[in-house]
Amino acid sequence: MHEIRWHGRGGQGAVTSSKILAEAAFRSGWSGVTAAPSFGAERRGAPITASTRMDREPIRILSQVTTPDVVVVLDDSLLAVANPAAGLKPGGVVIVNTVRPRAELAIPADVRVVTADVTGSALAAGVVVGGQPMVNTAILGSIAAATKLVTLESVEAAIADAFPPGPAAKNIEAARLAFQCTNA
């Protein structure tokens, strides 16, 4: 079983994307998938977490993800308020949306970190809501590139399933750009 923990802020769409990733995983051949919000208070701008699980058999664990294989950080401001490496399994990876170099990130040196300018991908694709770039779908491309757990094609299909055609095309483009700019 692979466990993914999402770190985002209320309104950034982490919960939505945790579900799209589950759909993409199912389409990539994982017969057991779940995705859930963290079960706590949620308010716009406050740090939140969500989770996605995938396995070759039905998922029977419903408690919170505490020992993730993959951690996804939607923006690097979260590194100051959340501990993304907490509970990370040996060999795990932290994927961070940032333009800063790895050495500047407050993540222990022995942790594998993959960075990508996901915000740039979202802006380039025109995924902007209320003047703010939405990175939650773009970063699905980075997850596909960094983990190989899901294919880019399955991510595109899952996004197409989650949005009306117009917005879906932009979000798919953002995920493609993030896939390409992720140095895994």
Binding site: E23, T34, R60, T66
Partner: protein, 406 residues
Amino acid sequence: MTTKVITGNEAAATAAKLARVQVIAAYPITPQSPVVETLSAWVESGELPAEFVTVESEHSALTVCITASTVGARVFTATSANGLAYMNEQVWWAAGARLPIVMCIANRAMAAPWNVLNDQQDSMSERDAGWIQLYCRDNQEILDTTIQAYRIAERLNVPVMVCYDGFLLSHTVMPVDVPSAEEIDAFLPPRTAPLQLVDANDPRNIGPVTLADPRADADGVVRPGYMEFRALHHGALLEALDVIPEVDAEYGAAVGRSWGGLTWEYQLADADVALVAAGSLTTQLTLAVEALRAEGVKVGVLGIRAYRPFPAAELRARLAGKQLAVVFDKALSYGYEGPIAGDLKAALFTAENSPVVFGCVCGIGGRDVSPENLADAARRAIADLDSGLRDRTPDWINLRPEGGAR
């Protein structure tokens, strides 16, 4: 049939659509709200040809369902926690009026303190109201059970609550096989109700005062007194002990999936210790069983699907010869113990070869409980039994000492 990766709430809404419900009335409350949000979108788009009645409260939501069901409609509603409590008067009315209403409960903790997270105190507190209560272990069972519930309800004229854990299932996506409309139409034909429409040429007084003793109505026909009505109602709940498994088997024949009827088990046959629960805890208990069996401890899961009627005889049979039953309740009868633990002890009292029953309380107000926590609680219960204990107060799993309680 197609497979969709959906939440428990979406599974419930999908079931209501497949059941071709005609009237929906509900008031939003977390974590149930997405059920009726989904249904209202389908009504608005025309995908679901039903009447969606918006109301100002849960009490009115169930009242609308009562009136629509009285004149023959197939109706649906859903709620949680304080919404269910606000309905309480009409919960009893729906049951006593013998209306085949199906209501999904996304289980949530009761306030105060205010909390929107999962436990099962809300529906467990309605156990005596005369509804059938079915608990679901995953999103697939939510869809299948909600459809089955209409067939059970309409056969017995008893309302059914389909209960599933808030957030843990209501807000968690997982793959769900969605039957085709044709499959469900064959399984669940349109409702045939005794009173289809109110007819001006055949005036009726529905719900008159019913006195203690039987008496003749205006046509001279002797009608039951209140106590006879209640005895008939109790008889219908006992008949449900047969009807629930029959409908589950019929659904299995029609759709290819069934869920064990009243109860189900996992690796229980050769077990010395049974882990007993209702709802999504039972899914996690199967993992606890595998961990304990790897240590050589012979344990199994006994899952309760029907909590009312309480399947006492079936539980006695499944537990005969076991040494210990560890019950995991997500609710509490304050000042006594968990509702399932108490009911199970009563069911086993004087039974031959019955196990010791130890209760646990867990997951209250959303407190996280993992398969490891459940396995640890089973180990503690086994140690208590080995130390000679035959009764104990509930074990509060994951109670945090820094929170001030012991």
